[in-house]
C-alpha cells in the first residue's frame, strides 16, 4: 500500500499523521510538498492538520489553491482515497472536494479536548471497522471546526449517507450543524473530519479508538495490493 502525506508550510500535525501511518501501517508514508504539481503513485493521500499558511485568510483557503491540490483533485477523481484531518478537512471544503464549510467555533475560542463520536456511516473503507452507531472517543484541537452547509447541501449530505461521524452525547465542541464531525464526498473516497484519530492510537495516548480508522483504510489497501 502507498500512502502519501502532503505537507504545507504551517502544517504542524503532519508529524503526528506520519507517525500514526508508520506505526499502524508498518511503512512510513511518502511525502509531497505543496508546490509539487505531481504526486507519487498513491492509494491514500492525506492532508494533515495544522495552520497552513497561518490560516491567515480563512482556514485552509490558501492551501486549497496550492499547486499540489490539482494533483490531489485529479487523484480523487480517479477514486484514490483522500483523508483530510482538521486543517486538511478545511482545505478539502475550501477546494470544493467536500460539501459545506468550517466556520469559527461557536464558543469563539480554540478548543482542545476529548469528545465522543458516533460512527454514522460504516459502510465505507475509512470506517468499516467501527460498528454502525458505535460511540468512540477522539480528541479535537481547532479554532474553526463549526461545520455549516446550506439547507440543500445539508439535505444531500444527510440523505446520501455522507455523514461519517457525529459528535455524540452532547460533546459537540464547536456548534457544528447536526453535530457533524466528519463527512464523505458523494463517492465515499474522500473523508474530511475535524477530530484527530491520529492522536488516539496507542496506550500512551490513553486509548486507541482512532486506530481502527487507519486499520480500515490501510488494511483495505493491503488487501487490494495482495
Amino acid at each position: 500500500m502507498k500512502a502519501t502525506v502532503v505537507q504545507f508550510p504551517g502544517c504542524n500535525r503532519d508529524r503526528d499523521m506520519i507517525a500514526a501511518i508508520a506505526k499502524i501501517g508498518g511503512t512510513a508514508p511518502q511525502l509531497a510538498w505543496h508546490t509539487d504539481t505531481e504526486l507519487p503513485d498513491s492509494d491514500l493521500i492525506v492532508l494533515p492538520g495544522g495552520f497552513s499558511h497561518g490560516d491567515y485568510l480563512r482556514a485552509g483557503a490558501i492551501a486549497a489553491r496550492a499547486p499540489v491540490m490539482d494533483a490531489v483533485r485529479a487523484a480523487a477523481d480517479k477514486g484514490v482515497r483522500v483523508l483530510g484531518v482538521c486543517n486538511g478537512f478545511q482545505m478539502l471544503t475550501e477546494a470544493g472536494l467536500l460539501p459545506g464549510s468550517l466556520m469559527r467555533n461557536a464558543g469563539l475560542t480554540f478548543v482542545c479536548k476529548e469528545v465522543m463520536l458516533e460512527a454514522v456511516n460504516t459502510d465505507n473503507m475509512f470506517t468499516e471497522r467501527y460498528g454502525k452507531g458505535e460511540i468512540i472517543r477522539c480528541p479535537v484541537a481547532h479554532h474553526d471546526g463549526n461545520y455549516f452547509a446550506d439547507e440543500k447541501t445539508l439535505k444531500q449530505v444527510e440523505g446520501n449517507g455522507q455523514v461519517a461521524f457525529r459528535y455524540a452525547n452532547g460533546t459537540n465542541p464547536n456548534g457544528s450543524l447536526n453535530d457533524i464531525a466528519g463527512v464523505f464526498n458523494a463517492y465515499g473516497n474522500v473523508l474530511g473530519m475535524m477530530p484527530h484519530p491520529e492522536n488516539l492510537i496507542e496506550p500512551a495516548h490513553g486509548g486507541a479508538d482512532g486506530r481502527r480508522l487507519f486499520e480500515s483504510v490501510l488494511g483495505v489497501l493491503q488487501r487490494d495490493a495482495a
Binding site: 508550510p9 504551517g10 504542524n12 500535525r13 508529524r15 503526528d16 507517525a19 500514526a20 495544522g50 495552520f51 499558511h53 497561518g54 490560516d55 491567515y56 467555533n105 461557536a106 464558543g107 475560542t109 480554540f110 478548543v111 482542545c112 479536548k113 480528541p139 484541537a141 479554532h143 452532547g170 459537540n172 465542541p173 464547536n174 456548534g175 484527530h196 491520529e198 492522536n199 500512551a204 495516548h205
Partner: protein, 742 residues
Amino acid sequence: MSVNNTRPITPELVAEHGLNEEEYDRIVELTEREPTFTELGIWSAMWNEHCSYKSSKKWLKTLPTEGPQVVYGPGENAGVVDIGDGDVVVFKMESHNHPSYIEPYQGAATGVGGILRDVFTMGARPIAAMNALRFGEPDHPKTKHLVSGVVSGVGGYGNSFGVPTVGGEVNFHPRYNGNILVNAFAAGLAKADSIYISKAEGVGLPVVYLGAKTGRDGVGGATMASAEFDDSIEDKRPTVQVGDPFTEKCLLEACLELMATGAVIAIQDMGAAGLTCSAVEMGARGDLGVRLNLDDVPVREENMTAYEMMLSESQERMLMVLRPEKEAEAKAIFVKWNLDFAIVGETTDDLRFSIHHQGEEVANLPIKELGDEAPEYDRPWVEPGTHSPQEPHVFAPPDDYSAALLHLIGSPDLCSRRWVWEQYDTLIQGNTLQLPGGDAGVVRVEGHETKALAFSSDVTPRYVEADAYEGGKQAVAECYRNLVATGAKPLASTDNLNFGNPEKPEIMGTFVAAIRGIGEACLALDMPIVSGNVSLYNETNGEAILPTPTIGGVGLIDDWNAMARIGSADAGDVLFLVGTEGTHLSQSIYQREILGEETGPAPEVDLQMERARGEFVLAAIRSGYASACHDISDGGIAVALAEMCMASSEGAVCELAITYPHAALFGEDQARYIVAVDDEWANMFAANSEGSGVSFERIGTVGGDKLVINDLVDISVEELKTAYESWFPNFMGQQQFSEAAE
C-alpha cells in the same frame, strides 16, 4: 574616524534612554567621544536592566548552576541538560510582563514566540511549553480583559506553532492589578552532539540575517521593560511587538534543516534589542568584531533609520555566522520556506561593532565593552523582616468543614483551570502523557521506548512576600515535589525572577533573600539552575507586585509505564499520607479565603526532609506500587484529597489523626504527599516507610462516590466537581455554544 552625529545628545535624551549620568559618562569614556544618536541607542539597549542584568548579576552568580547532568548552564539562549542515550533537553523560562499588560494578546503571543526561538536556536525541536500567569484581583475592571487576551495570545501562538502546552499556573492577587506577569517556558529535545551556540568563530565570515523582515515594531522594547509603569502606559502600546507564529514555524523547520547541513558556525535569535543584541553577543563571545551593512537588512517599512533598525524588536528573526562554502545550500532552504536570507555583514578581527548605512558609518563601538562592561550594581538592600509563628488555635475554625472545602476548591486560585488549558493544544505531537491539571505535565521522549520528561512551574508569591528566604526555598521544593509525584527524578530548573523596583532597598532585600533560598534549595534537591530571566521594575504608580520568583523544573521518568498520576487511584486502594499532620495556617489559602486575612510567616521548608520524603515517594512510584500520587500544597490535605477524588472520579473515606481539625485539614506544611497504594502492597509500603525513617500515616481507602474525612467532611465527588469546574467559566462569562446555537 568620522561618525557623524545627526542629533545632539542632551541630558534629556540620555535620560529617555534609561541611562543615568554616571552610566553616560562611562559610555563617553568607552566610546572615546560623544556617542551618536544610533550609538546611544545601542549602548542603552545593551546596558538596560533587561539585557545587562546590572542589578541582579551579583546575586545570580551565587546560584548553583553545575552538575554532571548540565551540558550548558546560564549564559546561552537556554540551558541544556543530559537525559542519557545521546539526548539532551533544552529549556528556559522568560517573562513578557510589561508588553502583556499593555497589549495582552500580542504581549503573551510574542512571549511564547521568544521562548520557543530561544530553544530552537540551539538546535532543539520544541516539545513542551508552560505558562505561569498572574493577574490582578478578579473584580478589578481590567482583569477579565487581560485573562482573555493573554490566554488567547498564548494559545494563538503555541497552537499554531505546534507545541503542546502541558502545564503552568494561573493566580489572582490585587498586587498584580497594575502589572500582570506572563512567564513563558519552553523545552526542546536535541541530540547532545548537535547543539548550537552563539559564539562566533573565524574572521571574514558572512553574517546572515534569517527569517522575517524588520519593521518599526518594538523599537525600545527592552528599555520599556526596564522601567516602572505610570499612567502614561497607554502611550507605550507601539513598543509592543506583533507575533507571527506561521513565520516562526517555518523558521523552526528552516533552521533545523539548515543545521543539519553543517552550514551554521554560530546562531543567535533576535530577541530583546534585536539586531544589536544578537550581533554583539555573537561577536563578543567569539572575541571578534562585527561589521553590518544595514542597506542589506530586509525591511518591511520604508525610510527606516539606522537607530530604528538596530533597536527594532520585530519577531521571528535570527542572525547566523555561515560557513561560506555552504551559502547556496543554506539559501535554498530559506527560499523553500519563503523566508528572508540576506548576508548583512561579516566578522572582523578588530573587536569593533561597526554599522554602515547609506554609505556612511553610523556607529563604531568597542564590542567587548558593549557586552561585558555593562555596569554591575551592588544595590543597597535591607534584610526583610520576619513574622513570629502563629499557633493553630489563634485561627478561627470554620462553621462547616464541608462548606469550607467547597469554598476553597471553588475559589479563584484553587479552582479548575480547564477554561484556560482547553484553549491550548495539549496533545499535538502525540507524545503527551499527562495533561495540565495534575502535578506536572508529562511528555514522552520521541524515539525512546520508555523515557518521558515531566515539567512543572511553581512559586507561592504570598509566601515569598511573607518570608522571601523560605518562599524562595518553597518555590523550588514545590516544583521538586510536583515532578516527584509523577515518578520523575528532578534534573534541573530555570528561574524567572519577577520583582519590583530594585532601587528600593526593601525590594532588593526581598530579591537577595529569595535568591539565597532558591540557591540553597536547588543545591539540596540537586536541581541546578541552567537558565533564567530577571524581570525587575514590576511596579505601577509605585506599587510593586508580590515578589514572584517562578521556578520551572524538568524531571526524567525512566519508564512511563510506571508513572503515577493524580487521578489513577482505583477503588480499594489504600491512601497514605507521607509526612505529618498539618499545623501551619499562616499565609494559607484557608486563612485568606475563609478568614479574609494574609498574616504571619510562610511555612518553613526542611530541605533534608524534603529530599528524604521525595526519594522515598519516587522509589515507591518507580517500583510500581504507588497507583496514584499527589503533593500537598495550597489548601492542605483536604484540598489534595478532593483533587485526587475529582481526577479519578472515585470517593475516599479517610480518618486522620487530628490535633487541631482546621490545621490538620487545611494547614500548608511542606514536604508532604498523598500516595494511593494497591491494598496488596499497603503493608509493604508501610514497612518501607518505617525502614526509610519517613513519617507516614495510613489515612483511608479509595472508593464510593463521596469524600469523607473523619466526622468533618462528607461531600459527593459530583458536588466537588461542580464547585471546582464552575468558577472560571462563570467568571469569564463563557456562553455555552450549545445555548448560543439554539
